[in-house]
Structure formats: structure tokens, C-alpha cells
């Protein structure tokens, strides 16, 4: 049986982090289609306008215009059930709780790696 094509929305304001995340996603087997958003507001638009639902959203916390918490809340407010995984270098319990409260399904720390993304893809049955 052919493997399902995985569509990922990568929300991250820093280009260097997007470049690394894209490569790590590809290596982990989950980067068939990777759309990008440089802030939370663009992410909300991408989710709203997507022709087909994303399979996974990787959401940074601190971004200009709209942060990851607010973007997560708005995406959930639209009734979207796509797994949202928060990605941040601030991994204190309070940071994780804030993201989960906003509607994220999981949290992983920066920097992203093939191994971390492999675990995430497996958890959400995307690998």
C-alpha cells in the first residue's frame, strides 16, 4: 500500500530554523509537502485557506505580529482538529502548560532534529 502523503505547516519566524526543520522533516519521512508561515497570523490564514487539511502543524512560540499561543487558540477556534505541536526553546512546565491550554497537542524543544520529528510523526501516526 502506498504511503500517505504528509502535509505539514511549519510556523516559524526564523529562516535558519525553517531550513533546519525542513531538512529534519524530510529525513524523518514527513516532509512530502511543507508549507511555511513566518508568524501566527499567516499560519491562521494558511490553515483557513488550505485546499486540504494539514496533517500536522509545527508551531513556534515567540513570533512577530501574532505569537504561537494566539495562533493555536485561533486555529482551534475555527474547529480545526489537526495535531498542533508546539516548538520552543523555552521548555519550562509553565511554557508547556500555556501551549497545551491554548490547544496544542504536544510540545517539543528546539532545536528540532530528525529523531524528535520521528517521534512526533509516529505519535500522530504520520510515519
Amino acid at each position: 500500500m502506498a504511503r500517505k502523503m504528509i502535509r505539514v505547516l511549519l510556523v516559524e519566524d526564523e529562516e535558519i530554523n525553517r531550513v533546519v526543520a525542513r531538512a529534519a522533516l524530510k529525513a524523518a519521512g514527513g516532509g512530502d509537502v511543507v508549507d511555511e508561515a513566518e508568524n501566527g497570523e499567516v499560519a491562521v490564514q494558511r490553515v483557513r485557506d488550505a485546499a486540504a487539511p494539514y496533517d500536522l502543524v509545527l508551531m513556534d512560540k515567540q513570533m512577530p505580529v501574532m505569537d504561537g499561543h494566539e495562533a493555536t487558540r485561533r486555529i482551534r477556534g475555527m474547529g480545526v482538529t489537526t495535531p498542533i505541536v508546539a516548538v520552543s526553546s523555552d521548555g519550562l512546565p509553565a511554557d508547556v502548560d500555556a501551549f497545551i491550554t491554548a490547544g496544542a497537542d504536544d510540545f517539543t524543544s528546539k532545536p528540532l532534529s530528525k529523531e524528535k520529528l520521528g517521534v512526533i510523526l509516529a505519535k500522530f501516526r504520520l510515519a
Partner: protein, 135 residues
């Protein structure tokens, strides 16, 4: 210089960067992604993005240091990342002296690593010139 000697020089440079704590396992992750992904210019692209960041405007100190910490983590720049963590603590403690000290350290660490990354890429280019199939 022969390719083998350049490779030895590159290996020694990378080894010293790890042993001095300038880079950590995330940098190995980048090398692995380059090798496994068959994308020869990947490490070059990432480290170039790293050193081309604006490093002079420290007005919005806390937000900027957060940004630098994140990109340092992505490239495996361990020393810069740790200094940024200390820097942010000084910002949050509103310690002017601490911020000035951390600024001096982070600039030094950043430029030191940038120079080593540049040397690393030059060596790789010279080695590549000997054998274009090698990467």
C-alpha cells in the same frame, strides 16, 4: 595543498570546535542531514544564514537575544546559546552590568565561531575542487 592534507586540516578544525564546546551535537545533526539527504550545500546554507544575522542592534535586547538563542540552537552553536541564556537572565534581572558583560562575551563567541565556520567552508570548497564527486 593536497586534498588529503586539507581534509586532515578540516577534521582537526571540526574536532577542536567540538572539544572547545563551540558547537554541540546539533551541528553533527546538520552534517548527518546533509549526508543522508544528499544535499551537499545544506551545512553551508545553514551556517551562512547564522553569520549573516544582524548582530549589532542590541536595542531590543531581550527579544533579540531570544532570537539568537534559537538560531544558535538550530546550528549547534553551543557556547553562543549558553551565553544567550545567561544574557536573557541578566535582562530579566535588569542587571545593566550583567548585560554589558554578556554582550561582550556573546559577540566574542559569535565572531569566533563565525570565523571557524568560514574556515570550515573554505576547506570544504578546496577539498571539493580536488574531487567534485566528494561531498
Amino acid at each position: 595543498m593536497a586534498a588529503a592534507a586539507l581534509r586532515d586540516q578540516l577534521t582537526a578544525l571540526l574536532s577542536s570546535m567540538f572539544s572547545q564546546g563551540l558547537v554541540d551535537e546539533q551541528f553533527q545533526q546538520l552534517q548527518m542531514l546533509q549526508d543522508e539527504g544528499g544535499t551537499p550545500g545544506f551545512v553551508s546554507e545553514v551556517v551562512t544564514l547564522f553569520w549573516e544575522q544582524p548582530v549589532v542592534n542590541f536595542d531590543k535586547v531581550d527579544a533579540y537575544v531570544h532570537q539568537l538563542k534559537g538560531s544558535s540552537a538550530s546550528v549547534g552553536a553551543q557556547k553562543v546559546k549558553f551565553t544567550c541564556m545567561q544574557f536573557r537572565q541578566f535582562c530579566q534581572d535588569k542587571s545593566r552590568d550583567g548585560c554589558l558583560m554578556a554582550l561582550a562575551v556573546v559577540r566574542n563567541d559569535f565572531y569566533d565561531l563565525r570565523n571557524k565556520f568560514q574556515t570550515m567552508l573554505q576547506l570544504e570548497q578546496q577539498i571539493q575542487a580536488y574531487d567534485p564527486k566528494q561531498q
